[in-house]
Symmetry: C4
Subunit: 282 residues, 4 copies
Amino acid sequence: MTSEEKQDTPLKRHIRSVIFGTETKLGRWFDIGLIICILFSVLLIILDTIDSYHQQYGQAIYYAEWAFTWLFTIEYLLRLYGSINRWAYMRSFYGIVDLLSILPSFLALIFPGANVSLAFRILRLFRVFRVLKLLRYLSEGNLLLKAMIQSRRKVFIFFFSVSLIIMALSVVMYVVEGPGNGFTSIPKSMYWTIVTITTVGYGDITPQTNLGQAIASLTMLIGYSIIAIPTGILTAEISHEMVAERDLRKCSNCGTRGHNLQALFCHHCGSELEQHQSEGKS
Amino acid sequence: MTSEEKQDTPLKRHIRSVIFGTETKLGRWFDIGLIICILFSVLLIILDTIDSYHQQYGQAIYYAEWAFTWLFTIEYLLRLYGSINRWAYMRSFYGIVDLLSILPSFLALIFPGANVSLAFRILRLFRVFRVLKLLRYLSEGNLLLKAMIQSRRKVFIFFFSVSLIIMALSVVMYVVEGPGNGFTSIPKSMYWTIVTITTVGYGDITPQTNLGQAIASLTMLIGYSIIAIPTGILTAEISHEMVAERDLRKCSNCGTRGHNLQALFCHHCGSELEQHQSEGKS
Amino acid sequence: MTSEEKQDTPLKRHIRSVIFGTETKLGRWFDIGLIICILFSVLLIILDTIDSYHQQYGQAIYYAEWAFTWLFTIEYLLRLYGSINRWAYMRSFYGIVDLLSILPSFLALIFPGANVSLAFRILRLFRVFRVLKLLRYLSEGNLLLKAMIQSRRKVFIFFFSVSLIIMALSVVMYVVEGPGNGFTSIPKSMYWTIVTITTVGYGDITPQTNLGQAIASLTMLIGYSIIAIPTGILTAEISHEMVAERDLRKCSNCGTRGHNLQALFCHHCGSELEQHQSEGKS
Amino acid sequence: MTSEEKQDTPLKRHIRSVIFGTETKLGRWFDIGLIICILFSVLLIILDTIDSYHQQYGQAIYYAEWAFTWLFTIEYLLRLYGSINRWAYMRSFYGIVDLLSILPSFLALIFPGANVSLAFRILRLFRVFRVLKLLRYLSEGNLLLKAMIQSRRKVFIFFFSVSLIIMALSVVMYVVEGPGNGFTSIPKSMYWTIVTITTVGYGDITPQTNLGQAIASLTMLIGYSIIAIPTGILTAEISHEMVAERDLRKCSNCGTRGHNLQALFCHHCGSELEQHQSEGKS
């Protein structure tokens, strides 16, 4: 409908069906190949940080890395060429992710030198985020995200209340235990409180005084109790969404609602039901 | 309706609309400014406990602290002046929080001297509770609080049973492991039991004997199982509240109940529904 | 109706109403006094295990302990005298708890001597279980217990499956890490697996090899996932019980079911509902 | 119906009813005996890994082990002989488990020698998996498994998203903390992230820098929040399955649905209901 659509050539349309679509055989093979490339390139980056691997295969990993970078560059350019609205693709979430997965390698090439080796190392590492490209293969409109968005206000209130509790307990523990027992500042005390209230419990900072251990016990019991709250909120939301989804399944013959998502026939009149779609197309 | 209302001047009414209300533009700006002030003043108190910051910026933080104290004092006086029933405001939860957020600074001024430096240090720290003033911006009648109040009896029974289990396990572990392995007294043993049953697991006290490790394993499995109970109670409550809320949405035309909270039209007769209100006005 | 009931004297009936009942003023005062005695006597036992308290107040605690023992002995005899069926009381759960709370003191008196001091110490400690007498004050037929009994089969299957997983992971970790890294035997390895799978994580035994850390990561993710299962079972049960309870509230006028537990009037015909009773009588 | 069925002799039928069935008295005794044998043989294997037991009872355990191996071999051969379709039994899950529980002992006999002692030790240990034979006694078609299968897609999306978060946080922590503080490589950093996000918290690797501790705190809060998601999914599924099960209970007289699983009579017309079957036959 835009002027760009008029310049739509058969080549473009073919590229689009292969790269963006999964209906054709070639499109499916392209997607499987892309997933393998992403996983393999991420694996290389991870292995390269292990010292023994870096010393033995460092050079080979470096060349393989560049090969993957060129592959992803070609993929990016093809996507740009094939898309109906190029600017829209570039600004889209996946467009940015695609760009970010090739940019670090080229930036490291432009700014070489030993004095920028740290920045270079970090830049190269962030190519791990290439794995975000796999998000493309998750069906978007899923129940989980919907439930999370629905409950965002309740979850925000929960985290706000938890921060208040963390702050209060941090001040009290800083006063009770003091710098001598590892609670050297309020931020350190907040770190301890979060370690305790989330039931992680490293044990790198532990209360030494009797009063401190009593307050720590209270902190743990609070953490243990409030762990229930986000679960409760989300469960109720997901349950609600599921019931809502079932309620939407209406028999086109008799009008009865509330069929199971797996049901094939209306439980009232026996006529066939339309198939449920929201659970992904894979 | 009280005699105090008769003394309501236009100035008072204006101050009230700015300080307590959010309808006018000035009222909204006042609220945003207040939130920024609270967050900034709390940040200063926290940073002041970090040694390096205290040595470098201690003096500046001290002056900034006093500036915030004066700002909150003016706010408190304005709230007092603008409220219809002053005594009711002073006794209210927010009135007390407002007072407590300025009192420590003045008390520290009245009782100076090196010999009260510890009390002074503690008093100053409790100004962190200024952050409680942010509670004002949470809509009160929310689902979460309602669900928690509804389930208070069940949660009490749960915590009472858990204390019984903790006490029993503490005595057994004190007898089995003894003072030699860190279980120096029953309170210390109770501290260990709480650390274990809440799955925090610092590792500062760990069982050394085989029997102790077996009982510890049992303790962990108990903790792992009963973590489910508060979640179950709260989830059922929240779910119940949600269904109850949906049931309250009645179509004024045909009388059908059970509409989604987001629904705009009756799913039975198609007439427009009144908008749902309980989820906050933001 | 039994022959024992014929010997029921006014004195007996009065004692019964005071000790077992809560309807009379004296009965309520007796209960409050008993609760205070229990909590105070348990506190004494706990404090006595703290070394500094034992050295300073040991003698006083010893005398107070005997005072409480005599009080509970008198209470036990009065309960025995006042009950309609004495043998039934003695065999009942509370009868046994009452007896166990006084027996250790007398047993320690009968078998004195330095050579039995350990057994004596342990016996005295188990008087902490006096706290179980407080169970009397919880309303019995509560939702929680019902939900747990309903889900006992599902929970058993869950724990059976978890034990299989724990056993399998223990063997694998014992083979991978070996005695050199703290996994000295399969029971020790099972202790580590339980510490890890319940997300306690003391850190007294940690995997040192790369493969061991990979398997440990898997163990943690398993533990993190299956924590959901008992919660799910119990939540569904509690939710189910709640709906069932609501469904039982039937309007005596029009027969409509499903009223809120807090509802006072029928939502269909408006006639008054009978009050809901199952949430305890306190 | 197959040719194998024609060769069905009374002896075969008798063996089948004893070994596979639980209807006859002999069949039940066989099952109870088998369960005891399995538990006892697994206990022996576990105890043999404890050094003191191995030195004292090693020889006795060795002989007992062989006795159990022969018992299970006889059981396997009888099952093979008694089954209608032998090849189907051998390929079945339980057939493989039965074979695996006897194979290691014989393999260790075939390949002796000191140089294969490690492999031998490992092989013997895996006989612990004999415990899997107990799976036979769990009713198959249970609610739990159904709920898990129903939610497999949602759980996969959840674990995929969690892996993305773990990978991102691992790279950030590797960059922030570096090899000096124990984050020697990205795999090691991933191990730390999993230890933290699952709230296990060994404390063998802990962040030392301020920024690292801030990111760690964030990691814990993320872990604390997302623990809710699998619970929410599974709870909603189980709840859904339960409602579906209730809905299936239809009165054969009046056609009303939605009876309690424990209900004996229709709540509408009072006629007797067919008994519910899906909760196992024990």
